[in-house]
């Protein structure tokens, strides 16, 4: 069996096993799995409004997934996507509320770029520390998540507003909201950001697969010492990878800031999008197209799950368990790979 086919098969089997396990759990706990899954489906695709919401949720998931996947390809584990997303969110809103009279053609790109820059800066710190002092990026990024959360809360409360818990809405000229999408999806919050997210997926694919720089980044991911021996600058590539990863994460924040919400509010905890991005990247096999597909699945599950308790009585917690099981099976892909190999060997005999 070709390795490419196996790579596609593993996530599919993982999702299937997750759903199967979910079915059994629902049966044992006394819920009707058919009603449960049809409620999940209806809640995600049963109505044009829900399709709009799924795409809305899909947008930041793509970017968060790309951020994690990009760093992964260079051998770095960026757990700081959450923090980079939060600073990107704040930067976009800050630009969005600070200027009033700018034309949209300048204001909107400026806000989006500010988010990318803020995320990139937040990614630069762990990249730099890793390159210069070999500080492990996992530790630095986890800590920077908390720094981001509390610093942005403080800025929202004390700098942008006067002790309020949320900023005013961003100016119309910086908003990604689209009355057109709203009218065709019955007031869902679907916004133009989806185009940015898809464009970023193409950029990532092109950058990694078609350019010299991308080759270097991947080479560093495979083997730092060999890359160094081959004359590549490992440190530069580590920093660059974290910066680009952070920029993607910052853009994910811009999607929430300028599209979904239109404001930034003081957060008591993380949004979770950045952490879900890790699962999305894992399920998507760290490739651009894989991330897009995995993000769609996660977006659908997330939105559809909200409908399950109301329509079928299945509690939200169970949906969380099913999602967790899917991730579990993806993470234990070795078991599935081992099975596939065993079965295909048997076939040969």
């Amino acid at each position: 069996m070709s390795s490419r086919f196996t790579n596609i098969l593993i996530p599919v089997i993982a999702v299937f096993l997750g759903v199967l396990a979910g079915t059994i759990i629902m049966l044992v706990s006394g819920y009707n799995p058919i009603a449960g899954y049809s409620a999940l489906w209806n809640g995600a695709f049963g109505d044009i409004y829900y399709i709009g919401e799924v795409v809305r949720q899909f947008t930041p998931y793509i970017l968060a997934g790309l951020a994690v996947a990009f760093a992964f390809r260079t051998g770095l584990f960026n757990i700081g996507v959450e923090g980079q997303l939060i600073v990107g969110w704040l930067a976009a809103v800050w630009v969005g509320v600070s200027f009033e009279e700018l034309p949209k053609i300048i204001h909107l790109p400026l806000a989006v770029l500010a988010a990318a820059a803020a995320g990139a800066l937040w990614g630069f710190i762990p990249g730099f520390l890793k390159a210069k002092f070999r500080v492990h990026e996992v530790i630095v990024t986890i800590m920077l998540n908390y720094v981001a959360l509390h610093v942005t809360n403080s800025i929202i409360r004390n700098v942008i507003t006067d002790g309020k818990e949320r900023t005013p809405n961003v100016a119309e000229s910086a908003s990604l909201r689209s009355p057109f999408f709203e009218s065709i999806t019955d007031y869902s919050r679907l916004h133009w950001g989806i185009l940015i997210a898809l464009a970023c997926a193409i950029i990532m694919w092109f950058l990694l697969e078609k350019t010299t720089r991308g080759f270097e980044l991947r080479a560093v991911g495979y083997n730092q010492h060999a890359s160094h021996y081959a004359g590549m600058n490992v440190n530069t590539n580590i920093i660059l990878s974290m910066v680009i990863s952070g920029a993607f994460a910052g853009l994910a924040g811009a999607m929430e800031a300028l599209g979904t919400f239109g404001f930034a509010s003081i957060k008591g905890g993380f949004t979770g999008v950045g952490f879900d991005g890790i699962a999305v990247a894992l399920l998507g096999g760290n490739t651009a197209i894989g991330v897009v597909l995995a993000a769609l699945l996660f977006g659908g599950l997330k939105i559809g799950a909200l409908n399950m308790p109301l329509e079928s009585g299945v509690p939200n917690e169970l949906v969380d368990i099913i999602i967790a099981l899917i991730i579990f099976f993806v993470a234990s892909s070795y078991i599935i790979r081992w099975f596939i190999e065993r079965i295909s060997k048997k076939g040969v005999k």
Partner: protein
């Protein structure tokens, strides 16, 4: 052999999942029974639903209280849980508020509650789009004709808690543990400090915010620091974070049963959280709780709306007079319980007849102190 191991692993995963799933589902099944079948003419019934904030419907606090109110409404009207009676939807993140509110609108509920100030922007937006749908929001004001806003005078309940704390303390050091610095909690803090000041001007109130409503470990750390600096009474207005305060108080009591460690709960009567069993006898570290009767308000507003008197575009404020806030019974173990109860009654009367206006912000607290 290896195959069998995989089978074992798979069944373990399934078993664990099933157990967890059963845990989550338990409460619901119970609720689904009960009043079913009593509802006469379902089509004419006035159906009500609510969207919780990220705390979830079993947060032992705010959201849970609102759901109790909805259940009480359903019981009174003979409705059952579900689409043609009353129901709730939980939000996992801030992004879910709008989706959930829209889903309930689509299910044709007659009245939809948004629980908590976090829901304000979402309700404001959707109420503008779905102008035929009636909404209600707790703890925030949305100025639209199809939205009823419910506010509470939390400061009045907190004031009574402050009176209690001021009289119960022996070290003259009192703690306040806040969730996040938002207007609702500011009302709690201002009222509490004013209450302490009224009965015990010498007491020193230490204020600390945990910056989260769902971090029990942060609450425990703050409580630990306060107790070790000599504080003997801590009042929390921090939702789930406050559970850490109770854990810390219980632990200290267990270590040294003689020591006076007290906590004061919030929103609903949290007495059950304070029970410590030492050598076979039950003690309780919770003096009382500052009640915020979200349940009464939710039920009250639902009944009004069902009678055709939906207060759209209005702000209804629930205070001591309206039974919207109050104080839970005082702990029996307190030596000066009678004195405290008398004082609390005295101040209750003063607040009700307008003799005292409890400050609801830092600015008002300053002028209150000046008097």
């Amino acid at each position: 052999m290896k195959k069998r191991k995989f089978g074992l692993a798979m069944s373990l995963v399934l078993a664990a999942g099933t157990i967890l799933g059963a845990c989550g589902g338990g409460g619901n099944e119970e609720e689904q029974g009960g009043t079913a079948g009593e509802g006469g003419n379902k089509e004419d019934a006035f159906t009500v639903a609510m969207v919780t904030d990220v705390g979830g419907v079993d947060d032992k606090s705010f959201n849970q209280s609102a759901w109790e109110g909805l259940k009480a409404y359903g019981e009174e009207k003979g409705l059952s849980k579900g689409k043609d009676g009353f129901d709730y939807m939980q939000s996992q993140s801030d992004a879910d508020y709008a989706t959930n509110l829209n889903t309930l609108t689509r299910q044709d509920f007659d009245l939809i509650f948004g629980i908590g100030y976090l829901m304000e922007p979402a309700i404001g937006e959707i109420a503008g789009q779905q102008t035929d749908q009636n909404f209600a929001i707790v703890d925030a004001v949305v100025e639209q004709d199809n939205v009823a806003s419910i506010m509470f005078k939390e400061q009045e309940a907190a004031f009574l808690a402050g009176v209690t704390a001021g009289l119960a303390t022996e070290t003259n050091k009192i703690g306040f543990l806040g969730g996040m610095a938002i207007p609702v909690i500011e009302r709690f803090e201002a009222g509490f400090r004013a209450g302490v000041e009224s009965v015990n001007p010498d007491a020193d109130v230490q204020i600390q915010y945990a910056e989260a409503f769902d971090k029990a470990e942060a609450g425990k750390a703050i409580a630990s620091k306060m107790y070790s600096s000599g504080v003997d009474v801590i009042f929390h207005a921090a939702g789930g974070t406050g559970n850490g305060l109770f854990t810390e108080a219980r632990d200290l009591k267990k270590k040294d049963p003689e020591r006076k460690v007290w906590a004061i709960g919030v929103d609903s009567d949290q007495t059950a959280e304070g029970v410590v069993t030492i050598d076979g006898t039950d003690h309780n570290v919770i003096i009382t709780s500052a009640l915020k009767r979200v349940d009464n308000a939710v039920k009250d507003l639902s009944l009004q709306a069902a009678d055709g008197n939906f207060p759209g575009g209005e702000v209804t404020t629930y205070g001591l007079t309206e039974d919207g806030v109050g104080l839970a019974p005082i702990n029996e173990e307190l030596e000066n319980k009678a004195e405290i109860e008398a004082k609390v009654e005295e101040y209750k009367e003063k607040i009700k007849n307008g003799e005292i206006t409890v400050p609801g912000s830092y600015a008002e607290l300053k002028t209150f102190s000046a008097q």
